[in-house]
Structures are given as structure tokens and as C-alpha cells.
């Protein structure tokens, strides 16, 4: 089981003191947070991709490349990469380059974004969101697996005798997850390729994701990649912790009440009941996170949203200390004890390489 954090990269005013970080401060804070993630023993750092204020991370591989140079073990990922509006050729090349620079510590979560105008800004039509995700990913999948590609589709200029460079490290493409909060087509897509499915379940009730993940698992089996419980599932989470629950709630409440996505709506208590948000003691976070397995089955990756809504960097770093020291070690042990033998871990470059070499040996 992999544990990590994902960041939206929002520049938000701290509601407790009215202070707004500059873009420079926020970008550097994201890097500091990523380095801290490795230091406290987490496995994954994932950055969002946005092309409008108040978000800073428009250029994921630039940021991840910089973090790669300053870390040793951390897996660098995205949450999410816009498969709809980015050129799949550029995704293929950017992430293959990052894969080489980071010695294979790269994977991606594909998504369609949450900002309508990004489509026209990048020359696309939002009504074609699903067809773009389907066609673009199909091309990307080929570009990483075939040295020379002839291709023609609806949304991009055709390719003749095209080779994306550099080729994936060791001939092994980065592992891909498909992220969705509501589209059955994306669960179907992930299942078809035998890719991972990342359900960012932090904003909606679990009943919805049970159906979405259930569909992915069932179709993963249908397409012959393994049994339903061997499908590769990632989940989100959102936590704020202090030693005493009441302290955590008191400190986090103003950030919740003013948060960009759900602020000024339901109460903190209502939102905690409806979504995975857990504000409380480390033990409460452990208990709540373990219930995700009851709801969704054995899963491979747990990412937490820790740095948003204007929380100061110092607080986020304290939160990562608690997460890394008190929560994740317990969760690792508990999840490992519960996981049946036949359920795989999340694929890594090393495991995918070993698998590729194995099948080559069998073939020869």
C-alpha cells in the first residue's frame, strides 16, 4: 500500500489572519511540502494541473523534475494531468523525460479538469470531454509502446512515422491511473487498459464511489486483467490532526468554513459525516481511513489532501510530521495484515520492469 499527498496548489488567503501567499511563496511551499513527504516516510507526491488563478501548478513536469532532483525515493505523480486539453504527444515526451531524470519514480493520474474555459483556451470543445479523453489517451498509450507510430484521429493533426522521444525508461511506460469523480466512461477506460483507477472521493459521499469503483473492478475482470479484487484502486482523503480532537476541530474550523470548494455551505460536522474529511486525533484518522477498505475493498494507494484552504506552511509541515510518524506506520501495518495474498501492490517502475523481463523470458 502506498501513502502520499496530493496538492491542488491553490493560493488562498489564510482566513485567520488575512494573509495571502505570493505565487512564488506558494510554489516554493509545494516543493517544501513534497520534500517533507519523503522525509516523513510517505511514498507519493502528486501535483494538480491548473491554468487559471488562484492555482499555481500549470507546469507539472517542471515542478516534479525539480523535486525529483532533490529526493531519492518519492514517487512523483499528478492529480490530475489534463488528458483532454494537453497534446498527448507532449505528455508522452514530458513524462518520459521525467521518468529518465527520476530513475523511474513517475506515474500519472489522467483527468478532465474542473474548469470549463480551459477547453476553449486550449482550442478544444468541452462537449467533447469524454471523446477527447478516450482518443488522446489511446494515442498516448501507443506512443509509449510503439517506437514508430502512424496515427490519425479526430482531434489532433495526423502523425506519420513519428517517434516520441525519449523512449520510456527501460522500455517500460509510466503507470497510469484514470481519475474520475462521476463518469462511468472513465472507469470503463481504466478497466479496458488494465490501468489504475483513482477515485478522488473527498468531496462526495461514499455510496457514489462504491458504484463507480464497483463498475471499474467488475470491468477490469471482464477485460481479463485479473479478478475484480485485483484491480488497482487509489483513493483520496482529507485530514487535519491534533493530539486532542477538540483542538483539531477548533483550529481547522475557520479554514473549513472559508474553504474555496465547500466553504459557506454545510457545517464541518455535516461534511465529516458525508465525506472522508476527518478532523480529530491521529487515532481517529487511522480508524476512519481503515473504513475505506470496508467500503471499497483492498486498495493500493491512499493520497491525502493536506495543504489547501490557506493553511500556513508551518501548519502543513506539522501535519505531515503527525501523518508520517503516528498515522501511516500504523496504517501500513493494519492494511498489510488485512490484504489477501493475491491482491497486488500498486505497480512501480521496478515491478513493471520485472514483469516485462519475465514475459520476455517466457516469449524467448
Amino acid at each position: 500500500m502506498q501513502f502520499g499527498i496530493f496538492s491542488v496548489g491553490d493560493v488562498t488567503t489564510d482566513p485567520t489572519n488575512g494573509r495571502t501567499p505570493t505565487e512564488a511563496e506558494r510554489i516554493k511551499a509545494m516543493v517544501t511540502i513534497a520534500l517533507k513527504a519523503e522525509e516523513v516516510g510517505l511514498d507519493v507526491f502528486a501535483t494538480g494541473e491548473h491554468h487559471n488563478p488562484p492555482f499555481v501548478p500549470s507546469s507539472p513536469t517542471t515542478m516534479l523534475g525539480y523535486i525529483a532532483a532533490r529526493t531519492e525515493r518519492l514517487i512523483l505523480s499528478t492529480a490530475t494531468t489534463l488528458i483532454t486539453t494537453n497534446d498527448p504527444v507532449k505528455i508522452a515526451e514530458d513524462f518520459a523525460m521525467l521518468q529518465h531524470l527520476s530513475d523511474g519514480r513517475v506515474d500519472l493520474v489522467m483527468g478532465r479538469g474542473n474548469t470549463g474555459p480551459v477547453y476553449p483556451w486550449f482550442g478544444q470543445d468541452i462537449r467533447q470531454g469524454i471523446p477527447l479523453a478516450v482518443e488522446n489517451y489511446h494515442l498516448l498509450h501507443r506512443l509509449w509502446r510503439e517506437d514508430v507510430v502512424d496515427w490519425e484521429g479526430k482531434f489532433r493533426t495526423p502523425l506519420q512515422s513519428f517517434t516520441a522521444t525519449p523512449r520510456p525508461l527501460d522500455g517500460v511506460p509510466p503507470f497510469v491511473w484514470h481519475g474520475s469523480i462521476r463518469s462511468p466512461e472513465i472507469a470503463e477506460q481504466a478497466a479496458y487498459y488494465g490501468d489504475g483507477f483513482f477515485a478522488n472521493n473527498i468531496f462526495w459521499p461514499k455510496e457514489h464511489y462504491q458504484r463507480l469503483i464497483g463498475l471499474y473492478r467488475q470491468r477490469f475482470e471482464h477485460y481479463g486483467h485479473g479478478t475484480a479484487d485485483q484491480a488497482i484502486v487509489g483513493l483520496g482523503g482529507q485530514v487535519f490532526m491534533r493530539k486532542n480532537s477538540q483542538d483539531a476541530i477548533r483550529e481547522f474550523r475557520p479554514y473549513f468554513d472559508n474553504a474555496p470548494v465547500y466553504g459557506h455551505g454545510p457545517s464541518l460536522e455535516e461534511f465529516m459525516a458525508e465525506t472522508p474529511l476527518t478532523v480529530g486525533s491521529p487515532q481517529e484518522v487511522i480508524d476512519r481511513t481503515l473504513t475505506f477498505r470496508d467500503s471499497f475493498g483492498d486498495y493500493q494507494r491512499q493520497l491525502f489532501l493536506m495543504d489547501h484552504a490557506g493553511l500556513p506552511l508551518k501548519t502543513v509541515l506539522e501535519q505531515l510530521d503527525i501523518l508520517g510518524e503516528e498515522v501511516v506506520p500504523v496504517l501500513r501495518k493494519e492494511f498489510a495484515a488485512l490484504k489477501p495474498e493475491h491482491v497486488p501492490d500498486a505497480p512501480t517502475h521496478a515491478s513493471l520492469l520485472a514483469k516485462a523481463q519475465e514475459s520476455q523470458k517466457v516469449a524467448s
Binding site: 469524454i130 471523446p131 478516450v134 482518443e135 489511446h138 484521429g153 479526430k154 462511468p184 466512461e185 472507469a187 470503463e188 477506460q189 478497466a191 479496458y192 468531496f203 462526495w204 459521499p205 455510496e207 457514489h208 458504484r211 463507480l212 464497483g214 463498475l215 470491468r219 477485460y223 470548494v261 465547500y262 466553504g263 459557506h264 455551505g265 454545510p266 455535516e270 461534511f271 459525516a273 458525508e274
Partner: protein, 194 residues
């Protein structure tokens, strides 16, 4: 069969609810001897849940159940007071948070209440286009009740005519079957074909 009755009345008791109840009873009578279950949904009781849904993008537990029951209903009766020349904001919010396509083909009877008869065409100019957009099938007669209509026998005639039209639509239609896109996905080969 089940008919969901949506009342956006604000008062308790409310003239809007009164009209909704009359429409529901007349529809049940017109469908007899078929067994009709009437489900009353008072939007006033869901006001905070609806506002929360606008902010968070998802329906909380209680509202989720109500929405599901509307999706699965065989017909709707939707009644709102006229506020500022149209349906109330709360009424519109309810239809704003429904899943896209969830009312396609569903028989609907629309009604409204107001202080004076002068707002009666709001049903034709505001309500009917809303349900046309949602691809619901609205019966030809809509029922407007101004305060003075409650002393007028003609209101009962309009209620019966509208209820009869709704009953005829419902009876001619197969019972609503819940559709679940998560149970029956489009195969990926078809998606790939574009």
C-alpha cells in the same frame, strides 16, 4: 405506481401545498382503480440541504434519498408560489440539482399559486419552458390558483381536467424503470470508435 408531489410553499399551512394536495387527490381519483402512492416533498424542509448542494456539488443524505425517489417516480406534480413573476428560487434550485436527463420523458403536471390572477401566465412563460428544457412531458392544462379562486368552483374543474390529462399520460406509459449508468456501461470498444 407512485407520484411525487413537489410543493415549494413557504407558509404552514400553505396555499401552494393545498393546491398540490388537490392535484394529487384528483390524479389518484382519475387513475382509480389503480393503486397510487402519493409522495409529498415539501421543499421548505429541504431548504438548507438544497443550498448545501449548490455549494458542495453533491446532495447530502436526506436530499439524496428524495432525489432518488423523484427519479424513480412515475409522474411529478410540481407546484410553486409565484415570486417576482416566476417560480420561487427554492423551486428552481430543486430542479437545478437533479441529475442531468433524469426527468426525460417523465409526465409532469405544473401548478402555481399567487395573490392575484395577474401572474397566471407565469406557468406558461416560466414553468413550461423549464420542464421543456428538462425534456419532461408537461400536460396541456396547468393550474393557477389566485387567492380569489379558492371561492370559485371553476378551480375544481381545472384541477380535474389537468389531473385527467396527467392520469392519461401515466396510464399510457410503462412503469418507470430506474436506469443505472454504473450497472450497464458503454463498452470501451464503442467509446473508442468515437
Amino acid at each position: 405506481m407512485r407520484i411525487a408531489v413537489i410543493s415549494a410553499g413557504m407558509g404552514k399551512p400553505s396555499a401552494t401545498r393545498l393546491l398540490a394536495d388537490r392535484l394529487a387527490a384528483a390524479t389518484s381519483a382519475a387513475l382509480a382503480p389503480a393503486e397510487v402512492e402519493i409522495q409529498i416533498i415539501e421543499l421548505r424542509d429541504l431548504a438548507r440541504d438544497l443550498a448545501d448542494n449548490l455549494v458542495t456539488g453533491f446532495p447530502g443524505g436526506r436530499l439524496r434519498e428524495v432525489l432518488q425517489s423523484v427519479y424513480e417516480a412515475d409522474a411529478l406534480i410540481a407546484v410553486s408560489p409565484i415570486f417576482s413573476a416566476s417560480y420561487s428560487g427554492l423551486f428552481k434550485t430543486f430542479f437545478d440539482v437533479l441529475e442531468p436527463d433524469s426527468l426525460t420523458g417523465k409526465p409532469v403536471l405544473i401548478g402555481a399559486t399567487g395573490g392575484t390572477p395577474r401572474h397566471s401566465l407565469a406557468l406558461e412563460h416560466a414553468f413550461r419552458p423549464l420542464f421543456a428544457y428538462l425534456r419532461a412531458v408537461v400536460v396541456p392544462t396547468s393550474v393557477y390558483a389566485a387567492s380569489q379562486d379558492w371561492a370559485d368552483g371553476e378551480l375544481a374543474g381545472r384541477i380535474d381536467r389537468a389531473a385527467g390529462e396527467l392520469a392519461a399520460l401515466v396510464a399510457a406509459r410503462p412503469q418507470a424503470a430506474p436506469t443505472d449508468p454504473y450497472a450497464d456501461p458503454i463498452p470501451f470498444e464503442d467509446l473508442l470508435k468515437g
